[in-house]
């Protein structure tokens, strides 16, 4: 029951937003309050159930039959695979509200959209039914389209429709796969489907192909990524937080939660290629990030690169790799949100995002620069920070399953260290490029309030990864058992 409440609370929040009077401070504080409630509840669930390892408690799940003749139901529940992202979705919504200082018009509507998207994001990680999963998956689409299209920069309309069409195509293909799966297996309940749903390997392969294709567009895996840059660059900062922090994980989570355990024989022939795509993401993302003159585009490509580790770890299909992948989903969300917010801070203070025009910001913006450095170090996988743990586990698992891909992935770490350090050198260090920057101040309290928790979590999870891994471990073992690995 509590899961359902958490998932649908933001919907009430969205309605509340629309009913509020048009007073900016009131709206902002109310939005913070609305966003905080699900987060508090998720933390309650974490301490009450998560730490004790009983997320499968019946008080967290719900199971109604909805369309009986098809075996479709309203089935929600939490498990270790989704819990980290469930938490992150609630957290990043709150952070996004805090980081929404650049939204000045139609604030109420913006928050309402954000909360509708939150329903979808939370729902995906709690859904235990294929159709319900798809519905929540798609619910995020329209609010995101509108958030980019209404509040983005001058290129926003083309970016928004491109984003919509690409991801809608992917998810519709995925739906076709889901429907074929459910109708052949006789149910859409993820718990009842089990490994393979009783289907032969040919049928599983035929179903896994469209499902994987749809999910990989959402991630996006590299040949399917062309929608991403425009929309990342055009979005407002707070939309970026959600767009890069949570939305790609709808795709990777689908692979880990549905494709792997439910279609083990189906995905098997594709796994080396998924791992290879992961490596391509890592290397390609790093290379292209190198060439970006725009700070935000650099962060966007860096994000593509790091997502590759999730694909690699997931494709490995062993306990280490999967643990890494599941954790990388969370850590990637933390650091990419951090970087996007700081890029937004720098852009609004200096009036430019071009790396060539920046430089020497550390002197004038010590807090922002320091946190940016922390984020960049996290992104390159510096030991002691959370991303290191998850990337390392992904590579280890990947190396065990696919040695070539595993070795190539380490290349990505080297490359990312290169471009991220180069970026830091040219933006925050060195002499001040532009005399106008002498006057600028440091990041404001709102920005710091948004960023500091993320930085803190990166450090905490880097030191105590067990806080997350212990929660996800049983579910990961179940997935490994389903694919018949060790």
């Amino acid at each position: 029951m509590i899961t359902t409440i958490i998932v649908f609370l933001p919907l009430l929040g969205a309605l509340l937003m629309l009913l509020l009077p048009d007073e900016e401070r009131l709206v902002r504080y109310a939005a913070l309050g609305v966003a905080a409630v699900p987060l508090v509840l998720v933390l309650f669930v974490y301490f009450r159930f998560g730490l004790g390892g009983n997320l499968d408690s019946s008080s967290l799940s719900q199971n109604f039959t909805w369309i009986e003749s098809l075996g479709v139901g309203y089935r929600v529940g939490l498990d270790g695979l989704g819990f980290g992202m469930f938490f992150l979705a609630a957290l990043l919504t709150l952070i996004a509200v805090a980081a929404s200082w650049d939204i000045t018009s139609n604030l109420k509507q913006y928050y309402a959209m954000l909360f509708v998207a939150e329903v979808g994001m939370l729902g995906v990680f709690a859904a235990q039914d294929l159709i319900l999963f798809y519905i929540f998956f798609e619910i995020t689409l329209v609010p995101m389209y509108l958030m980019v299209g209404i509040w983005g920069d001058q290129n926003r309309r083309a970016a928004a429709i491109k984003f919509f069409i690409y991801t809608f195509f992917g998810s519709t293909v995925m739906l076709a796969g889901f429907l074929a799966f459910g109708i052949l297996a006789g149910t859409f309940s993820i718990a009842d489907l089990g490994a393979g749903g009783g289907l032969g390997s040919v049928a599983q392969v035929a179903i896994a192909a469209p499902v994987l294709f749809g999910l990989l567009i959402k991630v996006p895996a590299v040949p399917l990524h062309s929608w991403l840059l425009d929309v990342y660059v055009s979005s407002p900062i707070s939309t970026n937080v959600v767009l890069s922090g949570v939305l790609p994980k709808l795709g990777t989570f689908g692979i880990i939660k549905i494709a792997l355990p439910l279609l083990p024989q189906g995905v098997e022939p594709f796994l080396p290629y998924v791992a290879a795509l992961g490596v391509i993401n890592i290397v390609y993302g790093a290379f292209v990030a190198f060439l970006q003159p725009d700070l935000k585009a650099l962060v966007a490509y860096s994000s593509i690169g790091t997502l590759g580790f999730i694909l690699l770890g997931a494709a490995a299909g062993n306990a280490v790799g999967l643990n890494g992948a599941v954790m990388q989903q969370v850590t990637h969300g933390l650091y990419s949100a951090l970087l996007f917010i700081l890029v937004g801070v720098i852009a609004s203070k200096t009036g430019t995002r071009r790396i060539a025009e920046l430089g020497g910001l550390a002197a004038r913006m010590p807090w922002a620069s320091g946190l940016l450095a922390l984020g960049a170090l996290a992104a390159m996988g510096l030991p002691g920070l959370a991303v290191f743990v998850s990337e390392f586990m992904s590579i280890m698992g990947g190396y065990e399953a696919f040695p070539v891909q595993g070795v190539l992935a380490t290349l990505g770490i080297v490359l990312s260290a290169m471009y991220l350090l180069y970026m830091l050198a040219r933006t925050i260090f060195g002499p001040i490029e532009n005399p106008a920057y002498e006057e600028i101040g440091d990041a404001g309290p709102a920005a710091l309030a948004a960023v500091v928790p993320l930085a803190a979590l990166l450090v905490i999870l880097g030191i105590l990864p067990g806080l997350l891994i212990n929660v996800q471990q049983p579910a990961v073992q179940a997935v490994v058992a389903a694919i018949g690995g060790s």
Binding site: T65, W66, I67, E68, S69, L70, I131, Y134, I135, E138, I139, L141, V142, Y145, L146, G149, I150, R156, R157, A160, I161, F164, I165, F168, F169, T172, V173, L175, A176, L179, A180, G182, I183, L184
Partner: protein, 478 residues
């Protein structure tokens, strides 16, 4: 005994519709120049038809009458519900406009006669009875399209609809006569016997002519060309109603003919349907993409949606038979709520794409409703259109035929193809600034009520999906 008291019970919805039809007409004679009275009466009549069908359905009434030529079953009653509910909203939406023409009683009579024809149609099991009922629904619809004397497009659209319609009727009739010649009877049960002995050349010819005639009536490509002109010219309420109610009934009866009359010929007609479905989807969407006029765009969109429904026809084989029938039923209801709503918004705002600019700021309620309709027409969950597509793809996935998988692929591709033009409207409403294009009319309260009610129905369709799915899975033809 041909006629028993039971027969009259079976005919209650039709008798109610005809009773109100005559009542509206008489009132038009005795209470001249009143718009409210005929509209109220017609709305009441639609509700009465709806109510009587609900009662028959709840009572589990079913049976065959007139020697098996007229049947009342869950399938027929379901479509009577769809038709009469659509009629109710259409009457509300048309009330003020028809008053403005000064001929409200006539217009309402025409709506009710289309209702009468459509609800009769879904119960018919005799080929000539089907033809008669189609004509009872079509002949008044020619007049509905041409009814608006203040716009030249109206009579033009009416004439194009009329000419193609009567040609299509004669083609359809030829097909029926040839099938009658082959089987010696027009009753579907005996037609099925004749078709079970293999397809003779004339039987095949009759089938082709019949399907072509039906393709005209449901605006399937390549016989769709009347649709944009007719719907653009027609009064909005007429376009909305005709694209939903008689079309649903025509699909229903085509389903009945194919499944009850020629199940043995299924390999032939599913293949034909597969090709027509693919062609129709692509033609509808590709032409809709080019439209600047919103009404014309919705006309092409209705062609595309016919294609989606025909995709379910292509899947009517093997294990997917029952799901395919359910898909047609669910799609018809889902399409009715969203498409009626979208057309009614045109009545409120106008058919120039520019008049939608900044609608979110000037008229947020209407803009949100239109947004819901557009998203539903794309097929986004959890809105009504999603469930229609869900069932269509489900049936396709179940069919186990490669050709049908291709059709399902076309459904997926076309869903994506339709995004730019539906979301073009959303973009204008939500992203653009107001101004540009002429301001829309305000519309009557009844019209706005219809729009809001349909928007709520579209958005909350998932709440009734459970009972609806149970209803259609129990009421299927197979």
């Amino acid at each position: 005994m041909p006629v028993t008291p039971e027969t009259f019970v079976a005919l209650i919805p039709e008798l109610v519709a005809l009773g109100f039809l005559v009542l509206v007409l008489l009132l038009g004679v005795f209470v001249p120049r009143s718009a409210a009275v005929p509209a109220a009466l017609a709305a009441l009549g639609s509700l009465a038809v709806f109510g009587s069908a609900v009662v028959l359905l709840a009572a589990g009434f079913s049976g065959e009458f007139f020697g098996g030529a007229f049947v009342v079953d869950g399938f027929a009653l379901y479509f009577k519900l769809v038709v009469s509910a659509s009629a109710f909203f259409t009457v509300l939406a048309a009330a003020r406009w028809s008053g403005g023409t000064g001929d409200a009683p006539e217009y309402m009579t025409l709506i009710l006669s289309v209702v009468a024809g459509s609800i009769l149609l879904v119960s018919m099991r005799d080929l000539f009875g089907i033809f008669l009922a189609i004509e009872l629904a079509t002949i008044p619809s020619y007049a509905m399209v041409a009814f608006d004397r203040s716009r030249r497009e109206s009579s033009e659209g009416g004439m194009k609809y009329l000419i193609t319609g009567v040609i299509a009727s004669s083609v359809l009739l030829y097909g029926i006569v040839l099938i009658y010649g082959v089987s010696g009877s027009a009753q579907l049960s005996e037609v099925a016997q004749a078709f079970s002995e293999g397809l003779s050349p004339v039987a095949l010819l009759g089938l082709v002519l019949l399907v072509s005639g039906f393709a005209f009536k449901v605006s399937a490509a390549p016989f769709h060309f009347w649709t944009p002109d007719a719907y653009q010219g027609a009064p909005t309420s007429a376009a909305a109603f005709l694209s939903v109610a008689p079309k649903a009934a025509t699909f229903a009866v085509l389903l009945r003919i194919l499944l009850e009359g020629m199940p043995e010929a299924a390999p032939a007609w599913t293949a034909v349907m597969a090709f027509i479905a693919i062609l129709t989807m692509f033609v509808g969407n590709l032409f809709a993409l080019r439209q600047r006029n919103v009404r014309r765009m919705l006309a092409y969109s209705s062609v595309a949606h016919s294609g989606y429904i025909l995709a379910a026809f292509a899947a009517l084989q093997g294990p997917a038979l029952s799901t395919g029938v359910q898909a047609v039923m669910i799609y018809s209801a889902a399409y009715a709520v969203m498409n009626l709503g979208a057309f009614f918004v045109i009545d409120l705002v106008g058919d120039d794409g520019k008049s939608y600019n900044g609608l979110l700021k000037t008229r947020p309620g209407i803009a949100l409703s239109m947004g819901v309709f557009m998203a539903a027409l794309v097929g986004l969950p959890p809105l009504s259109g999603f469930f229609g597509k869900l069932y269509v793809i489900l049936a396709g996935a179940q069919s186990g035929s490669v050709l049908v998988y291709v059709v399902v692929g076309a459904v997926v591709v076309n869903s994506v193809l339709s995004v730019p033009y539906y979301f073009g409207i959303v973009r204008n409403m939500f992203f653009e600034e107001p101004g540009g294009g002429e301001p829309g009319v305000s519309g009557s309260g009844a019209l706005r009520f219809s729009v809001y009610a349909l928007a709520v129905a579209t958005a909350l369709f998932f709440l009734v999906m459970g009972p609806l799915a149970a209803l259609v899975s129990g009421a299927g033809l197979v």
